[in-house]
């Protein structure tokens, strides 16, 4: 089962929820934690895995053989990302715009394009002392494109059929978030009851309308802002599955690297109940 923790707005508590959910489940379940926030992964700061494996994350960048290329321009035409230009009868490649989609290679009538694996970051795997299988992707600083790393991370280890995988999503509502959500079974939408939280929550709900997986909302910093998130949840029939009150001691604890579960152990039961609710939704019941 893949549970994706996402938010839209940054800093609402995705990692707080994801790490404590994984820790709560680890006692009884075969649990994986997949940090898909490849631009700024931080799950390891809370879960302390001992990393044992590392591999390059690569993107396939086209290399054009100038002897075979007839400068027909077909590759430039099919590239949706304008990573290629036909200049003075030669094809120029702009690697930083390339998404590694392979359209140019596929469409080249001369077979003049070879894809060269080019490292843009790395993947790491390790186990925590609670036996959580931990993996994350890291985008190299100055590289612009995280999505290929997320796709590679999802395929890398193979988590086994009965595993519960908690995916920590990047913030925002663009390609990396979509890549994290694809193949997920359930989306946990962490938000805060503010106009900003609601605005970005709506964007994620818009993505889910396309991806069509069930979702539930977690309201973090409950008690601040207004009740517009509650209204939105009712109108859109998305259950609010947990509320975490605004609490300065919690913020201070998390800022010093502790998990929600460590600061407030009573949340273990709440997370187990949350998981039971998710399971029942996935088995056809209502949350």
């Amino acid at each position: 089962m893949n549970i994706v923790v996402c938010s839209g707005k940054g800093g609402t508590g995705k990692t707080t929820i994801a790490t404590s959910l994984a820790l709560s489940l680890a006692e009884a379940q075969h649990t994986w934690y997949m940090d898909c926030d490849v631009e700024a992964p931080n799950g390891h700061i809370f879960l302390h895995p001992v990393m044992t494996q590392k591999t390059d994350a690569v993107i396939q960048i086209p290399h054009i053989d100038s002897n075979t290329c007839t400068a027909c321009g077909r590759c430039v035409e099919v590239c949706q990302f304008h990573a290629l230009a036909l200049v003075a009868n030669k094809v120029m490649v702009f690697p930083q715009l390339c998404h590694g989609c392979g359209s140019c290679t596929w469409n080249c009538p001369e077979g003049a394009i070879t894809e060269m694996p080019t490292p843009i970051g790395s993947l790491e795997y390790g186990v925590t002392k609670e036996s959580i299988h931990f993996e994350h992707g890291m985008l190299t600083i100055s590289e612009p494109m995280g999505t290929p790393i997320i796709r590679q991370l999802k395929k890398w280890k193979g988590t086994g059929k009965n595993a519960i995988v908690v995916r920590d999503s990047p913030p925002g509502a663009s390609c990396p978030v979509v890549a994290t959500l694809l193949g997920g079974d359930f989306a946990l939408l962490v938000t805060e009851p503010t106009p900003f939280g609601l605005h970005d929550l709506k964007q994620i709900v818009g993505i889910l309308e396309e991806i069509k997986i069930p979702a539930g909302i977690i309201v973090n910093r409950d008690g601040i802002g207004n009740d517009a998130v509650d209204q939105f949840a009712i109108e859109n029939k998305i259950p609010i599955m947990m509320r975490i009150p605004y609490d300065k001691s919690l913020a201070a604890g998390i800022a010093s690297g502790r998990t929600l579960l460590d600061i407030m152990p009573e949340y273990r039961q709440k997370f187990l109940a949350l998981f039971a609710d998710i399971s029942s939704v996935l088995n056809g019941g209502a949350a």
């Binding site: 990302f81 304008h82 702009f94």
Partner: protein, 108 residues
């Protein structure tokens, strides 16, 4: 000389647009005859690579020079490789016609 000038509207009397890749219109002017043709810039809504796509358009139009307010590194690189002169407006808020006349009077 065939030049392309980035513009706000699709006429020679339009005010120029300072952006290269995301200018709404590209006006192609023959500075010898002052004949002109306007093109809607197809790249303005591209998330990435608008500069390269616009540079490709300029190359395909066989312009010798392009004038705009600024050129990004990818666009500049593409235009350079094609041997097209990329020139910056000599002053703000000119019309396309004034820019074309400036190029005619200050031939490089």
């Amino acid at each position: 000389m065939i030049v392309i000038i980035t513009a706000q509207e699709g006429t020679i009397d339009s005010i120029v647009n300072e952006r290269f890749g995301r200018a709404p219109y590209l006006i192609k002017v023959d500075t010898d005859s002052m004949n002109w043709e306007a093109f809607k810039n197809a790249s303005i809504h591209h998330a990435h690579g608008a500069g390269i796509a616009t540079a490709q358009f300029v190359i395909d139009q066989k312009a010798e020079l392009v004038m705009s307010g600024d050129f990004g590194p990818n666009a500049a690189n593409t235009l350079n490789t094609a041997g097209i002169i990329a020139q910056i407006f000599p002053q703000k808020n000119m019309t396309v016609k004034e820019a074309a006349e400036y190029l005619k009077d200050n031939k490089r």
